[in-house]
Symmetry: C2
Subunit: 235 residues, 2 copies
């Protein structure tokens, strides 16, 4: 029995999708799947003979369209999972802090980590945490739309930092080609919150971010609020 673990990358939005499965039972989950790479992901799930149980979104993304609904159309037993704060009708499970999803002998624990958006979740499986856009490698998510709050994000990252130093951090994005970090590294070196930055300083840094709107926000957010069901083909 072992954990199959496949990080996958979508170049245009620099998004990481994560596929996890129990090698014995073949039960699987996918985190933050992207529309553009759905054929790659479907192909891999089929080749590995996986039984997709959960299609998890860390949050309602503004930079890319999810493939949640297309994946569910293909793998009919899979359930779409989103944080409860999103209260979205397209989700099969609106998950709350402390709740758990089982796949084979493995489980994924949900942690509410609002701040980038009001509905952001992180997910812990064994010695890995999937942090979405809450904690990025050496950085963090922006807080200027979708109910974002730098104060809440500070508290969320402090919650993430209570995990063991050696826990591996897998974010939803990295724009510099880094694929993984650790809690220890981010506590030390994160440029927004590392080295013991306090809440006021962190909020100041987040508010000083100079950012343009994500190119796809006006398409991606409405699409993702229906789990990508508006991009389904008839096939």
């Amino acid at each position: 029995m072992s954990l199959i673990f496949r990080p996958l990358f979508e170049k245009e939005s620099s998004t990481y999708t994560y596929l996890l499965a129990d090698s014995d039972t073949k039960e699987a989950v996918i985190i933050d799947a992207v529309d553009e790479t759905q054929q790659r992901d479907i192909g891999l799930i089929e080749e590995l003979g996986l039984d997709l149980k959960y299609i998890i979104e860390t949050h309602v993304h503004a930079d890319h369209i999810t493939s949640s609904c297309p994946l569910k159309q293909k793998f009919k037993n899979a359930k779409i999972v989103l944080g409860a704060a999103n209260s979205m009708a397209c989700a099969d499970i609106l998950i709350k802090d402390g709740e758990r999803l089982q796949f084979g002998t493995y489980s994924i624990n949900a942690i509410e980590t609002p701040g980038h958006t009001s509905g952001c979740m992180s997910f812990v499986c064994e010695d890995r945490i999937f942090t979405g856009d809450a904690l990025l490698i050496r950085s963090c998510g922006r807080c200027d739309f979708q109910g974002g709050s730098a104060e809440k994000l500070f508290n969320s990252i402090q919650k993430i930092f209570t995990l063991a130093d050696k826990v591996l951090v897998y974010p939803a994005h990295d724009y510099g080609g880094r694929t993984v970090s650790t809690i220890w590294e981010e506590k030390q070196f994160n440029e927004m919150i590392g080295g013991g930055v306090d809440k006021d300083e962190f909020v100041g840094r987040v508010n000083a971010m100079v950012l343009s709107l994500p190119k796809k926000i006006h398409v991606a957010v409405p699409a993702n609020q229906v789990c990508g069901s508006n991009i389904l083909s008839d096939g």
Copy 2:
């Protein structure tokens, strides 16, 4: 004691760089480091407090310029490692099939895997193989320059396929955002050689590849034949 393992990605050439280290002794190796991302890699090595022992190239790349020499200029005890068939003066170690490099309690075993170029090596560490451009995910390297030979590549991949099915395959490139495969998967699903393709069929498929020359070949190959020393700054 554990293995620190960091896959890193360079977007323009879709190259994977791999950093491995012993968490106790901090001795480290880097495989296929790229010029464009040298500051990222130097920063990470410094933040993690690593003692870089070996700068390994799987082969003389045609699509990007190595950062071997700049890294050696920064980490003065590190030795540049290339396959013996390259007979290049800029290498400190010209490694042969079956030879081994030690970092902390870990070792890396060299395997000659010519075919993409005449000097291609793969490197095995624990349950991972770094295959350079010999075996790619669902694909393989081209064989039309730098002493390439589809016949030799067939034999090299057969040699790689003698490893255990569960061994993780980390290539030098993936153009579709996949980060890792396994020997089992490539034996089954590789589109060039999977499913028991024989040598004649494989050679035919390689020869039928329709490819343009890598954009940087006329800059990258000469630069890489001197381990990137011609791009050194004076700093």
